[in-house]
Amino acid sequence: MIGFVRDMVRVLTMPCREHVVLFSRQLDARLSRGEAFGLRVHIVYCGGCRRYREHLRHLQSLGQALAQQAEIEPGLPVDVRERLNAVVARAGKNN
């Protein structure tokens, strides 16, 4: 409980420059419950951070859209595959 309050207060009192670091980290790691709650409270009254988080989410969806586009591209072409297998075979012999 003390840790929760301490983390929440720390987040609520930090400048927005540090909030954006936490918004990004939240996509790659689990924040403490106090940190996560502090951020949720903060964005209720901070329009700048709310917009930043919205843009981060937009970036994530856009990333998925780009992944889908990249996925439908054709795979390794036959001639490239053949040359690659030849390179592998040569490397095998040389070692």
Binding site: P15, S24, A29, Y52, E54, A67, P77
Partner: protein
């Protein structure tokens, strides 16, 4: 952690850890299997980043050869495909370092702080770390397939403009959606390295998209 601390934390491009041999499989057999099982994924990654078939072929060959050399010891922690993509990420980053060194003068780098295009704002934050201005809404991604394609293309260009090392981390983490722990293992980064690299990249991508969307609005007008 402050932004300054994040920026100053080291982000070394260490070589990724090698992967264990499969029982009874020779290294050459493993390399042939990689080409069969992961060749398409490696090719798509290389082609998406380099946008050149010649360069992509070189990247795939270098990756498989480096993987053959590094094949042997390691303690796991990522899938074989992620391990190969990690090696490729280093190869692609090196490729762009070479290309950018050869290009004179260097193109304008994206300043991680220059997010607002309103002309009055210099950087995202005031000296006290508060928002200098609030950015506008972005065009709705779900508006149409054409809109989605156009925006995805804009993102691709913004990823290309990131420094080598950052673009590859972004591709593995935010595009291919590989879990952060695996990206760290594959690229030889600590958690903190990855967090700071991703933070800087996302700020820069946001700033770059902001400019592109802003320009588009101006053209419409």
């Amino acid at each position: 952690m402050t932004d300054a601390q994040v920026r100053s934390s080291p982000t070394p491009d260490a070589e990724p850890a090698p992967v264990p041999l499969r029982a009874g499989e020779s290294r050459d057999a493993a390399a042939r299997r990689w080409v069969t099982e992961h060749g398409d994924a490696l090719w798509k990654f290389a082609l998406a980043r380099t946008r050149s078939k010649e360069a992509a072929e070189e990247m795939v060959q270098e990756t498989v050869l480096a993987a053959m050399q590094g094949y042997g010891t390691f303690a796991g922690g990522s899938s074989e495909r992620t391990w190969l993509l990690g090696i490729m990420a280093h190869k692609i980053a090196d490729h762009f370092r070479r290309v950018r060194r050869a290009k004179v003068p260097r193109g304008p780098a994206i300043s991680p702080d220059a997010t607002c295009i309103c002309g009055t704002c210099r950087g995202m934050f005031t000296e006290k770390g508060m928002w200098a201005c609030i950015a506008g809404r972005w065009p709705d991604l779900a508006a149409s397939d054409a809109e989605k394609r156009e925006q995805a293309e804009a993102l691709r260009a913004c990823i290309d403009a990131l420094p080598p090392g950052q673009s590859e981390a972004v591709w593995l983490r935010d595009i291919l959606g590989i879990p952060p722990g695996e990206v760290c293992k594959a690229m030889g980064l600590t958690d903190t390295n990855l967090w700071s690299r991703m933070h800087r990249a996302r700020v820069a991508m946001r700033s770059c998209l902001e400019t592109k969307f802003g320009l588009r609005k101006e053209t419409v007008r």
